[in-house]
Symmetry: C2
Subunit: 257 residues, 2 copies
């Protein structure tokens, strides 16, 4: 399964580079009435995965951002966001990814998770019970140290006012616009938490956004919580959404709340 996810991610990276070239990407930005960017990149990436799954007869159903659920007659499902951080791609910020997880009933039974930075090729990978890696090297979360704390935070118009208080609490703050990669930085022990809190339900996270990075974070020793402090799970559909605090050390949870 690892090889399958790796070449699917490789295919997406290649298609995005060939089919939606960096230099042309900015020129392709258009905005719908709801402020959603209309770029070919998401579509190009998703079509690449679906085509390769058919060609190579990958024995998985699909749950994806654009296509929704595709029942291909199998037990397990590839839960994917073909491009997480689309707007970064449109801005030329090299921090967007393809996110692929293999699940059966819900996010938390994920057996495999892969997140690949589509610009740099950085590869985060985990298998249940076998730990997490970054470019093949084992990664581990770090203990919380308030003096040197780093938080990744979702910000902007749809962020909850509660984010204001959190923003200035950490020694360093980043808002990088790609939840899967931001959670991988936490998994790698290079930041303490990823905080996503929106008062607008349609802006909060779906299983396609975080299924892969959730497994990677957990296999690296971290955990994801919902705003009530319960361990976060999400059903395998696009309607279920949640806000989230993903942490390396649970001491971060108490400190942020």
């Amino acid at each position: 399964m690892k090889e399958t996810l790796e070449w699917l991610a490789e295919e997406v990276a290649g298609e995005v580079e060939r089919g939606c070239a960096f230099r042309e990407r900015a020129a392709e930005v258009g905005m719908g009435a709801d402020g959603t960017p209309t770029c070919r990149i998401d579509q190009v990436a998703e079509e690449a995965v679906l085509r390769m799954m058919d060609e190579r007869k990958v024995p998985l159903n699909v749950l994806s951002e654009e296509a929704g659920f595709i029942d291909r007659g199998f037990e397990r499902t590839l839960v994917m966001d073909p491009v997480d951080g689309t707007y970064n791609a449109l801005m030329g910020i090299p921090f967007y990814s393809v996110s692929l997880a293999v699940c059966t009933e819900s996010m938390n039974d994920a057996s495999h998770g892969l997140v690949r930075n589509l610009v740099t090729g950085d590869l985060f990978y985990a298998e249940r019970g076998r730990g997490a890696t970054w470019n093949g090297r084992s990664i581990r979360v770090r203990p919380f140290d308030q003096q040197n704390s780093v938080l990744m935070i979702y910000l902007g118009k749809y962020a909850s006012p509660s984010c204001n208080g959190v923003v200035r609490r950490a020694r360093r703050t980043r808002s990088l616009g790609c939840s899967s990669l931001e959670m991988c930085v936490v998994a790698a022990g290079l930041a303490d938490g990823y905080y996503m809190n929106s008062d607008v339900y349609e802006r909060s996270l779906r299983v396609v956004d975080i299924a892969a990075s959730a497994l990677i974070l957990r296999e690296a020793g971290g955990e994801l919580f919902d705003p009530q402090g319960e361990v976060l799970d999400l059903a395998l559909d696009l309607r279920s959404r949640s806000n989230c605090l993903a942490v390396g050390d649970t001491a971060t949870l108490r400190w942020v709340q």
Copy 2:
């Protein structure tokens, strides 16, 4: 001069990759009592530039983050930050740069400015009166559109509380931790402003941080202002610091303030 700046930047990129390898970088993170990371990357990058300037007899003085002002007996000075966004480099976030400008008396007489992303190689360049480019293609700021506004903001423990109000005003917000590249995204017409406001003087911007990106932004049609709304200039020393609002369209200035 363009070629000189280009190969200096190329040299820094090579030295950072060879002398401070990505995979080893995280392991090298150590923190001083003041929370300053102690990594070789800044030193390696600066030494590369100084060595090359001697070897190739580049006719410029130097003002740099670590070395300070080096009077080499010339009229003009290379104003450089060898690595802007050091902490991103330590976190594996591919958004840090070398920033090189040629100035005589102050930031605003800069004749040449170059900012290179040290991971992706993306190159932003400007010459006074000749416009700005991104990877050789002409760039231009965009008109402000509140509905689709994007702001880059400096955040964290040392950010002014006034940032809280700004954070949620834009449709999208990023805090990317590399002022020079964040200003280049504004110059490229892909974001509306970069807002840096710290109540701690020692955290605000110096000429080495922004001399190159200021020229690039201005040549692309934008402008930099201090917190009083005056056009920002900085003397060629490391003691002068300022907060800053860099915008593509001056309508952004009125909207943020």
